[in-house]
Amino acid sequence: MATNDSTTNVKRLQVRRYKPEENPETHYLNQEKGLWAWLTTVDHKKIGLMYLGSIAFFFFIGGVLALLLRTELLTPARSFMDADVYNQVFTLHGAIMIFFFLIPAGPAVLGNFILPLQLGAKDVAFPRLNLASFYIYVIGALFTLFAIVTGGVDTGWTFYTPYSATTGGNVMAMTLGIFILGFSSILTGLNFIVTIHKMRAPGITWNKLPLNMWGLYATSIIQILATPVLAITLLLLTMERALGIGIFDPALGGDPVLYQHFFWFYSHPAVYIMIVPGFGIISEVISTFSRKIIFGYWAIALSSLAIAFIGFLVWGHHMFTAGQSSLANMVFSFLTFLVGIPTGIKIFNWLATMYRGSIDMKTPMVYAMVFLFLFTIGGFTGIMLGALSVDIHLHDTYYVVAHFHYVMMGGMVMAFLAGLHYWWPKMFGKMYSEFWAKVSLALLFVGFNMTFLPQFVMGSQGMPRRYFNYIDQFQSFHQFSTIGAYIMGVAFLLMAGYMLHSLLRGKPASSNPWGSRALEWQTASPPDLHNFHHTPVVINGPYDYHKPMSEFQLGIATSHNGHHAGEAVDVSKTEKEQA
């Protein structure tokens, strides 16, 4: 790639400072008008916002379902739902939260919005594919809604055979919906990998890539390697129901445990699709609000890749009691412990970044700290579940439920909210109320721990998951947990309130309200439709807080910004080559 002429061309690269415009008249939100322009837009920022709207809708649905479940569990016996309805509600809660909220929350919402901005690109590599992936998501969602309307699904979000092959309801529409959804995820991952490789602005070498990009890069790799296996699994399951092909159905001579291997080969890496973008967000937030260069850049970057890789080796820890061979059990248990290493590396590096930093306790930073606290609890309990003999006792109890809610909600949802609050001014050019944001966060923190901490205790005492009734001794735990869930509900309503207020009446945000050095803050808030009016040039790392802001606002000095292909391009080739 490094040809001779590129080294000579580098010397001809002339840069000058471009100060970001404050509160621009025209930006991506008003440059194209009308509903049609929104629905057919290929702009990554608008697609990101459309995803944001969709996942907010599904998060609301999934949240309401969760509150229904918790309300039913107020009393040991039936409160207001039958067992069958309860089964359908927890299946939908799981499937919606995982496939429609958590999987797209990292890459498709925040990733879509931020990735090209942080790379200094005008858009992702394949904008139309990006729009297609959004509509594929919508089609998948419609299939799922169709499944709910026509009979519901009561298999649990994992669709285990043989139950899923024989139960009533519309399992086929549901699995087809998620099959379709998988392609949306694959296309996003594909787009990101190519964009990160090919569309970086001049000067963004691999060691100047923001850690959020490393997180999304690792996520994309998991998306393209794991999601196809989910597709084939669900296709086989659909065929199992449609034709009775018998590969997974013991009644026809098949092997249900093989289904679990297939399913978890996707679904274990999938939890890293959910959490690894969160790691990226947390790295950005902690460095920005500590006013300090990130500690252990390469350790954090490479540990994301390491987690992505190890994530593929541990799927069998979901199957310790499913009847797989004891050899496989031992290997999987050993490999599961390895995940703790790169995750621990990250936690320590974030703490070291905060150490002696000038920490600014703005809302995103508080979210990041809440993330560190809750995610660590989630991680440690995961290590316990990875131990074979302990898992025999705790498998399929509320301990597992509490563990993955600490990881997914205490981890990813907190990281997502940190990112949302962090980039909110960039997205809409408006600030939100710090006060109400912190009130909501406090309620969320209290409510979350009230909900899930008792579940660890219940689980270790033997309360199984997915039961709609229970013995009396657990009632006080369940009630405590339910009250916590209501508090979280209030916190989220409050959040919706101040977010909406910010959109309508919020104070205008400056281009860089947090004083960050990262590239996305060196353009206007909200950005132009093409992100930058110039081709940005990067000479410093994204966390070099010891260097003056002016060094982070550079761009190519010529008027050429790549919009007009016919224009003579004298230097732009080298930028790509150099990058």
């Binding site: 394949f126 065929m239 009775g244 092909i245 093989l258």
Partner: protein
């Protein structure tokens, strides 16, 4: 690289968010390779099912593969390899600005792909007639093994999905022919031809594995 940066080059194809044709070409090609990764793992799942069941019931595979006709399987392999050759020739024609050669090669490829599907059709209908149907409709008793239905389920899933990919390939190539007739492609821009070619070769590679695994168990 040098021939694409000449000044008289046509640039209608260049999207505004790319700096130059090379960046766009490289990005598209890498995108296709990433997509092929997903295809390999998609089929990989079926290969896993195949391998697991073969390790459990080797004798089933011996018995059941007798029902598959090695001759037509070999013919189909040759047909697909031939079509891979013509697709490679089509790309070469596009690179050399020979639009006529590009269209002819694409038509031959489409013809070979259709031949493949016709042979597959006869293979399938011969089995359907015997009662070797996918799934629970399986009613053939010529294979004396209790899990015979599973072998044929795997057979139908693998060859069926592969067949769907062949059909998609035919569709893509017809689209390419139309584009080529409109003089869209030239030596500076033939990205769709290149990446469709990559896709088509992968379909060939998958069949290269399916053939010995399904037909050649002696």
């Amino acid at each position: 690289m040098s021939q694409t940066s000449s000044t008289e080059e046509k640039l209608d194809h260049l999207k505004h968010y790319f700096v130059d044709s090379d960046q766009q070409f490289e990005a598209s090609k890498m995108g296709m390779w990433v997509f092929l990764v997903t295809e390999i793992l998609f089929f990989g799942g079926l290969f896993v099912a195949y391998i697991v069941y073969r390790s459990w019931y080797p004798e089933l595979y011996l018995l059941a593969s007798e029902e598959l006709d090695t001759f037509w399987g070999a013919v189909n392999t040759a047909v697909l390899i031939g079509s891979s050759l013509t697709v490679a020739m089509a790309i070469r024609s596009a690179q050399l600005n020979q639009i006529k050669g590009l269209i002819i090669n694409l038509w031959i490829t489409i013809g070979l792909a259709c031949t493949f599907m016709v042979i597959k059709y006869f293979e399938y209908s011969e089995k359907f007639a015997k009662g070797i149907l996918p799934g629970s409709a399986y009613s053939y008793d010529g294979v004396e093994h209790e899990k015979a239905n599973i072998f044929f389920s795997i057979y139908y899933m693998m060859t069926g999905l592969h067949g769907i990919h062949v059909l998609i390939g035919i569709g893509l190539m017809i689209w390419l022919v139309f584009k080529a007739k409109k003089k869209v492609f030239h030596s500076g821009y033939y990205t769709p031809v290149e990446i469709t070619g990559l896709y088509w070769h992968l379909v060939d590679v998958i069949w290269i594995f399916l053939f010995p695994l399904l037909y050649l168990i002696d």
